[in-house]
Each structure stands twice: as structure tokens, then as C-alpha cells.
């Protein structure tokens, strides 16, 4: 695996292009999930996608881009499955840290996230909340791995509409740290809520961010 803790300015134009490519592949994912073009068009598209994949694989890393400090001094995780702007699988979830050290993300799910008709798959909401609660625990000073996560589904989660996800650290017992969070409508109506227990790695003394900041990596 590759773990670069500090990126170089030189890589930024490449990473910007990769972020743009990832965004366009997300559009492609939805287009595939929704398309009704004829068989021949689909086969032609498949051949083009395979050729594109081969070109991108000409220079291939061993693992996705991991946690690093960007040139602006801020941490980032470009390859992460949930937050990575350079990973087409990611929403991507973009969370800001509030002055109260809680986390808040504006988000909008897409058609490719559908489970029941017209509704976001419950597992997709779980995926987002797992990450957000880990992030809230980390920004409170306790990065760690998820130990237990409990989700309560209150209402159907729509896609294609603006939603707000928030999470905050609530308490600790030794190396165990608890956070809570929820996905809600902009008016505050809670759709899915979660509580999680995160466990600090044994090397973590509580004096500063660890080398992998695992709590933010999911």
C-alpha cells in the first residue's frame, strides 16, 4: 500500500484532473443505471469503457490514494470509498467542522443509490453515517476504528434532493469513544439516525493525530 503523508505542489494539476474525471464517472454510473438505449449502443459503450480502463491502467498504483496532508496544510483522503474526490465510488461526502467541533455535510444522493423504488438504499445511508460518526469522533480528538454502529431508520431517504448530515462526539470511557449523528431534511426532519462506538488504536496516546487518522478514513 502507498501512504504519502505530505503531497507535493507538483501533483496538484494531476489530482485536479483526477477529481474531474471521477466526477464524470459518477455521472456515467447514473447514466448506466438509467439508460434505455438499444443493445448495440450498450455494447459499443462497453467496448469504449474497456479501452479507457486499459489506458488508465497503463500506470497503476497498488492502492487508492490514502490519507495525506494537502499543500494547503489540510488533511484529505482522495481515494476513500465515501469521501474521496478521486474515487468515483464515493458520494463524495464533504464534511465541514463547525466551531463547536461537530461535523456537518450537505449532500444529495443519486439514482444509482436506489434501494426501494424512489428511495435511497438503507445500506447507502449506513455507509455515509459510519464515516460521518468516525469523523466526528476524530475531530473531537479521538481518531479510531468503528467498534459498533447502530442505525435507526425513521423515514424514507429521497435521492436528488438536498439533505444535511450532522454528527457529534458525545462521551468516552478509556479508549472507547461514542458519537451520534443523523441524515435529515433541510428543515431538520430526521430520516436516519446513528450512534457509534469508536476504539482508539493502542498506539494512540491522545496527544495529536496519528499517522493514519483511521477514524477519518472509515
Amino acid at each position: 500500500m502507498t501512504l504519502d503523508l505530505a503531497s507535493t505542489e507538483d501533483a496538484e494539476p494531476q489530482l485536479a484532473a483526477l477529481t474531474d474525471l471521477s466526477r464524470r464517472v459518477r455521472d456515467l454510473i447514473d447514466a448506466v443505471a438509467l439508460t434505455d438505449v438499444p443493445e448495440g449502443e450498450l455494447a459499443a459503450a462497453a467496448a469504449e469503457v474497456a479501452a479507457l480502463t486499459e489506458r488508465l491502467n497503463a500506470v497503476r498504483r497498488d492502492s487508492p490514494r490514502s490519507f495525506e496532508i494537502g499543500p494547503d496544510g489540510a488533511p484529505r483522503n482522495l481515494g476513500n470509498a465515501v469521501t474521496g474526490s478521486a474515487n468515483p465510488h464515493a458520494l463524495p461526502l464533504v464534511a465541514e467542522v463547525t466551531p463547536e467541533r461537530t461535523v456537518r455535510a450537505e449532500l444529495s444522493f443519486r439514482p444509482a443509490h436506489e434501494g426501494p423504488p424512489g428511495t435511497v438504499h438503507g445500506g447507502v445511508s449506513a455507509m455515509i453515517l459510519d464515516h460521518l460518526l468516525g469523523h466526528a469522533t476524530a475531530v473531537a480528538g479521538f481518531p479510531g476504528m468503528t467498534g459498533t454502529l447502530t442505525l435507526r431508520y425513521r423515514r424514507r431517504v429521497p435521492y436528488g434532493e438536498p439533505l444535511v448530515a450532522t454528527a457529534e462526539y458525545v462521551r468516552s470511557e478509556g479508549r472507547k469513544h461514542w458519537s451520534e449523528g443523523r441524515i435529515a431534511l433541510p428543515d431538520g426532519t430526521v430520516l436516519v439516525e446513528a450512534s457509534g462506538l469508536f476504539i482508539a488504536p493502542s498506539w494512540w496516546s491522545g496527544q495529536g493525530p496519528g499517522p493514519e487518522s483511521a477514524g477519518e478514513a472509515g
Copy 2:
């Protein structure tokens, strides 16, 4: 939204082509997450992806393909975010029903599912287990929506290796039904385990599968 309960044989070649395209887009997703080709190559790829998306959007459905009965009489959910063979976001999770009416899936995660370095994102495991437990509840005769889901993370989940996920219905109280499941190594070592409460829709009398089989849709 579109809800076709019975497909026609005529659509099968198109759906096969769509399944193949989705498989190739999954390869593309991993290629993007791992590529290190120069900026110019990434920009060229982005332009091609945008053109492909536009061609597929020439005939666009309102929502992904939902639950339906295939021409072989078996239920399927081609557009589902977790199980849909025609949705590039999906793993896809392919679960078989055992003679004991439990469910079992062989699966392998990919680099695009990475959270912590070399490890599957905890949220991705949560997404898979939410679906599998709902499916186990449904095949036991109680399709429903997820009410509560609790995940316990025991060990890191690797990607690129064969894993086995299983789930089974355990008990009911009125319209509430509980199932349990886990993702494990082929030798049975449990990596992540889950228990879930699924709530039957009020129209469901328990006499046969409902029109949307929501428990299987996630």
C-alpha cells in the same frame, strides 16, 4: 418511478448488454481510483466519459430498474445500489437461498471500497450487511424495511480476497422481524457481524410476497 413486475423476453439481450456494460464500468471505477497516468491523459479520459454519458442519456428512464420477475420466474432487482447487475455502483451482491431458507453470498471487495489503508471501508461492509439481513428476513416470509441495524466490527475486512457473507432470520414479534448475519473469511473467521430489525409494511398480511418486496430492495 417505474415499477415493472414482469419483464418480457424481448428485453433480455438489452439487459445482458447493460449487465456487461455495468461490469466494465466497475473496472473503470477501480482504474480511476488507482491510476497514476499524467494530467493530459486524465483530461482526455474525462472528455470521453462525458461523451459516453451523453450517448447513454439519449434514452433515459426516470429511475433505475426496480424489483421485477425475470423471464425465468425468479425475482431480480437489476438497478439496486447493492445487488443490481445493471447498476455500476453495486458490488453486486449475489446471494443464494440455502435449503434452510438462510442466505449466503460469496463476495470480493475492490480497491474502490477502501477506507483505512488496505482495508474495506466500514461503511461499505455496513451497506452489504443491511441488504443481506433484509434479504434473509424476506426469504423467511417477512419482507420489510430496515428499522434498526447494529454492526459490530471484529477484524479488518480485506479487499481483493474471497469472502463469505451469510444471514438468517431469527425471530418475530407482530410486524417486527429480526435477522442476524456476518461477513467472514472462507475459514469462518467473522470480520463484521450485524443484527437487524425489519418492519413489515402495514399492507402485508404474511400470505405471500408483496408487490415491491421491499425487504429485498434494501
